[in-house]
C-alpha cells in the first residue's frame, strides 16, 4: 500500500498549526523582537489552513483513485 505524502504532511501541519495558534491565543502577544504582533496566533492559523488544504488534496486524490479503480475497463 502506497502512502500519499500529503496525508502525513497535512496531519502534521494541522496539529502544529492548532498547537501554535492555541498557544498564541492563550499566551497573547509576547515581548521581544515580535512584541508588536501576536505572530504565534496568526502563523498557527496559516499552518492549520495549509495542513487542512494538504489533507483535502490527499482525500480528493484518494477519491479519484477509487473512481478510476471502479470504472469499467
Amino acid at each position: 500500500m502506497t502512502l500519499d505524502v500529503r496525508q502525513p504532511m497535512g496531519l502534521m501541519f494541522t496539529l502544529l498549526g492548532m498547537l501554535l495558534a492555541g498557544y498564541g491565543l492563550v499566551a497573547g502577544t509576547t515581548a521581544g523582537g515580535a512584541a508588536w504582533f501576536n505572530i504565534d496566533a496568526w502563523w498557527g492559523g496559516l499552518l492549520t489552513l495549509f495542513g487542512l488544504a494538504m489533507l483535502g488534496l490527499a482525500a480528493r486524490a484518494r477519491r479519484a483513485l477509487a473512481r478510476s479503480a471502479g470504472a469499467p475497463r
Binding site: 502525513p8 504532511m9 502534521m12 502544529l16 498547537l19 501554535l20 515581548a31 521581544g32 515580535a34 498557527g44
Partner: protein
C-alpha cells in the same frame, strides 16, 4: 553565550511532533521495501512534484541555510549568484539535456552511468571520491548542528548530534530512499514555514526594503566600498576590488555559474538520485524543473536574513539586534539564523523555527546517507567485494551501509571541528572532486569519441590540477596551510571565494583538455555500446504529444527567463 535561548513546553511539543512524524513515515513505508530497487531507488515510483521538492530539499543542509545566510551577511546580494547564475541554469541543463541519459540508461547511480559509458576504473574512481565527499558533507552538517544547539540551547554537543543521527538512521533504515524523499518534502515545507516569519519580522525591524538598503549602504561605506556594494548583485562585479566577494564577473559566470554549479547540480548523485527515482522519463525530466521554482525564491528566505542581520548590526534596527562577535572581534556570520530566531521568535514560533533548523540539518544528512548507501552497495561492494549474492543480500547490505554512513558522518563531524568556515570548506571539497567531473560528463554525453582511458586520466589530471592550484595560491590575509599556498605562493587572490572559483576553472579545463587528448590517442568506443548513453547515438525524445507546459524545453525556458528577470531586478 551558551544556552541563551530558553525553550518552553510548547516548543518541546512541536519538536516532539516533528520527530514522531518523520519516524512514523519511515515505519509506514517499511512495508513497501521488498527489493534493493525499492530501498535504493524507491522502485522508481515517485511522482514528479514529490521528487522535485525532494531534489530541492536534499540540498537544504548546513551549506544552504547557515552558509547562505552567512554569505548574505558577508557578501550581500551577490550571494544570489549561487542561485540565479549557478543553480537555475544547471538544473535546466540537467533536465533538458542530461536526464535522458541518466534515466534512459537505467543506471542505479551516477558512477554506474560512468561504467556503462566509459569503464570500470572511471566508475571506481568516482564512486570512492563521491563516498568520501558525501561523508564529509554529512559530517560538516552534523558538526554545525551540534555546535549550534550547544551554543544556543546549551544542549550537549555530542548528545544532540547522536540523537538527530539516530532519527535519520531510523527512518532511512525503515523506508529507504522513499522515506528520505517523503521526509524531505515535509522538511521543505517546515523550513519555509519556519524561516519565513524571520524575514518578515527582520524586514519590519530594519524599516522595510528601503531601510534595509540604507542600512546596507552604511555597511558598504564602513568597509570602504560604494553604497550599493551589499544590495546590488552585478553592478560592482567589474573588478575584484569593488565588491566584498573579491570576484569579477568572469569568475562568477565561469567558476561559479558554469563549472561549480553544473558540476554540483548535474553530476552529484545526491541530487540526481531524486530524479532517478521518478516514476517515468517524463517525470524524471520535470523533477529538476519543478525544483527551479522554489530554488529561485530561496534567496529571499536564506540570503535576506543575512543581509538584514548585518544591516541591523550596523545600527539600523529598532529592536537592538546585533550579531555576536567571534573571538577575533569580527561578526560571527554563521550565527545569523540561530541568533535571529532567538531574538525575534516568541515561544511557540521558536519551537517551529528551531524544528525547521534541525529539519534542514536532517534533510542534508539523509540526502548524503541515502546517496552513500546506494553508491557503496552498487558501485563498491557489488563490483569489488561480492558480486554474486541475492537481491535480499544487497538489500541487507544497503541497510548496513546506512548504519556505516551515519557512523562515518559522525566521525567526520568530530574531524571537521578543526575547520571554522563551513561554506568555504564545502566549496573547496566540491572544487577538488566535482569540478573536473562535469567535463567528463559533458564529453561523455555529447562526444562519442571520448573513451575510458581519456575519462579516467582526465579526472585524475583535473583533481590534481585543483590540488596544485590550491597549493600554489592563497587568499589575502590567510596563512599558508589549509587555505592554500602549501606548495609555494605564486598568486594571491582577494578572497577565498575567488580562489575557490578559479581552482574550479583550472580543474575543469585540465580535465576537458586531457580527456580529449588521451581519447584521441586511443581507440574509439564501439558505436553500438553507446546507444542510450551518448547524444548522437540515441534517438531523440519526442515531446510533440505532450501539452506545451509539460515539455521540458518550455519549462526550462520559463525558468531561465524568470532567473534572468530576477538578475535584472537586483542588478
Amino acid at each position: 553565550m551558551s544556552g541563551t535561548i530558553k525553550l518552553g513546553l510548547v516548543d518541546w511539543s512541536i519538536l516532539a511532533i516533528y520527530f514522531l512524524f518523520v519516524l512514523g513515515i519511515g515505519a509506514w513505508l517499511r512495508r513497501g521495501v521488498r527489493t534493493s530497487d525499492d530501498f535504493f531507488l524507491s522502485g522508481r515510483r515517485i511522482p514528479a512534484w514529490v521528487a522535485g521538492l525532494a531534489f530541492m530539499s536534499a540540498n537544504l543542509g548546513a551549506q544552504e541555510v547557515i552558509g547562505m545566510a552567512a554569505s548574505g551577511a558577508k557578501y550581500g546580494m551577490a550571494t544570489s549568484h549561487f542561485y540565479w547564475v549557478g543553480a537555475i541554469p544547471a538544473m535546466v541543463f540537467l533536465a533538458v539535456f542530461m536526464m535522458p541519459f541518466y534515466y534512459g540508461s537505467r543506471a542505479h547511480s551516477v558512477p554506474e552511468y560512468l561504467r556503462l559509458r566509459f569503464d570500470e576504473k572511471t566508475r571506481g574512481f568516482n564512486a570512492i571520491s563521491f563516498s568520501f565527499m558525501t561523508v564529509m558533507s554529512s559530517g560538516i552538517s552534523m558538526y554545525a548542528m551540534g555546535l549550534l544547539l550547544n551554543l544556543l540551547l546549551g544542549w550537549d554537543f555530542s548528545v544532540s548530534m547522536w540523537l538527530c543521527a539516530a532519527i535519520v538512521l531510523g527512518y532511512i533504515l525503515l523506508g529507504g530512499l522513499t522515506s528520505a524523499i517523503y521526509n524531505e518534502v515535509l522538511q521543505f515545507f517546515l523550513i519555509v514555514f519556519g524561516f519565513a516569519p524571520l524575514v518578515f519580522l527582520g524586514l519590519h525591524d530594519v524599516g522595510g526594503w528601503d531601510g534595509l538598503k540604507a542600512g546596507l549602504a552604511r555597511v558598504a561605506t564602513a568597509h570602504g566600498y560604494a553604497p550599493g556594494a551589499w544590495s546590488e548583485s552585478w553592478h560592482f562585479l567589474g573588478s575584484t576590488t569593488s565588491n566584498p566577494m573579491g570576484v569579477e564577473w568572469f569568475g562568477i559566470v565561469m567558476g561559479l555559474g558554469f563549472v561549480l554549479s553544473f558540476g554540483y547540480w548535474c553530476t552529484d548523485f545526491l541530487i540526481v538520485q531524486r530524479a532517478m527515482a521518478a516514476e517515468s522519463m517524463s517525470a524524471a525530466r520535470r523533477t529538476p524543473l519543478i525544483a527551479t521554482l522554489p530554488k529561485m525564491l530561496f534567496p529571499f528566505l536564506v540570503i535576506l536574513p543575512g543581509m538584514i542581520a548585518i544591516a541591523l548590526t550596523q545600527g539600523a534596527g529598532a529592536s537592538g539586534f546585533v550579531l555576536p562577535d567571534k573571538p577575533d572581534g569580527t561578526p560571527n556570520f554563521d550565527l545569523v539564523i540561530p541568533v535571529m530566531l532567538g531574538h525575534y521568535f516568541p515561544n511557540g514560533l521558536l519551537g517551529l523555527g528551531l524544528t525547521a533548523l534541525i529539519a534542514s540539518f536532517m534533510s542534508g544528512m539523509a540526502g548524503n546517507v541515502t546517496a552513500f548507501n546506494t553508491v557503496w552497495t552498487n558501485d563498491i561492494y557489488r563490483p569489488y567485494i561480492r558480486g554474486d549474492a541475492s537481491d535480499q543480500h544487497y538489500l541487507w547490505m544497503g541497510r548496513v551501509a546506512t548504519l556505516g554512513g551515519v557512523l562515518l558522518s559522525l566521525a567526520a563531524a568530530y574531524l571537521v571541528s578543526a575547520f571554522n568556515n563551513i561554506m568555504d570548506v564545502l566549496q573547496l571539497v566540491f572544487a577538488f572532486i566535482n569540478a573536473p567531473l562535469f567535463a567528463t560528463f559533458l564529453l561523455g554525453m555529447f562526444w562519442r569519441r571520448a573513451n575510458g582511458h581519456g575519462a579516467f586520466t582526465g579526472l585524475l589530471a583535473g583533481t590534481a590540477a585543483a590540488a596544485l592550484h590550491h597549493g600554489l595560491t592563497l587568499p589575502a590575509q590567510a596563512l599558508p596551510g589549509v587555505k592554500g599556498g602549501w606548495l609555494a605562493l605564486i598568486h594571491l587572490y582577494p578572497s577565498e571565494m575567488a580562489q575557490n572559483f578559479w581552482t574550479a576553472i583550472f580543474a575543469w579545463s585540465t580535465c576537458f583538455v586531457v580527456t580529449i587528448v588521451v581519447s584521441l590517442l586511443g581507440a574509439a568506443p564501439a558505436r553500438e555500446r553507446l546507444v542510450g548513453l551518448v547524444h548522437s547515438e540515441t534517438p531523440g525524445i519526442d515531446d510533440g504529444t505532450v501539452v506545451w507546459w509539460q515539455r521540458p524545453a518550455a519549462l526550462g525556458a520559463i525558468a531561465l527567463a524568470a532567473a534572468a528577470l530576477l538578475n535584472l531586478a537586483f542588478w
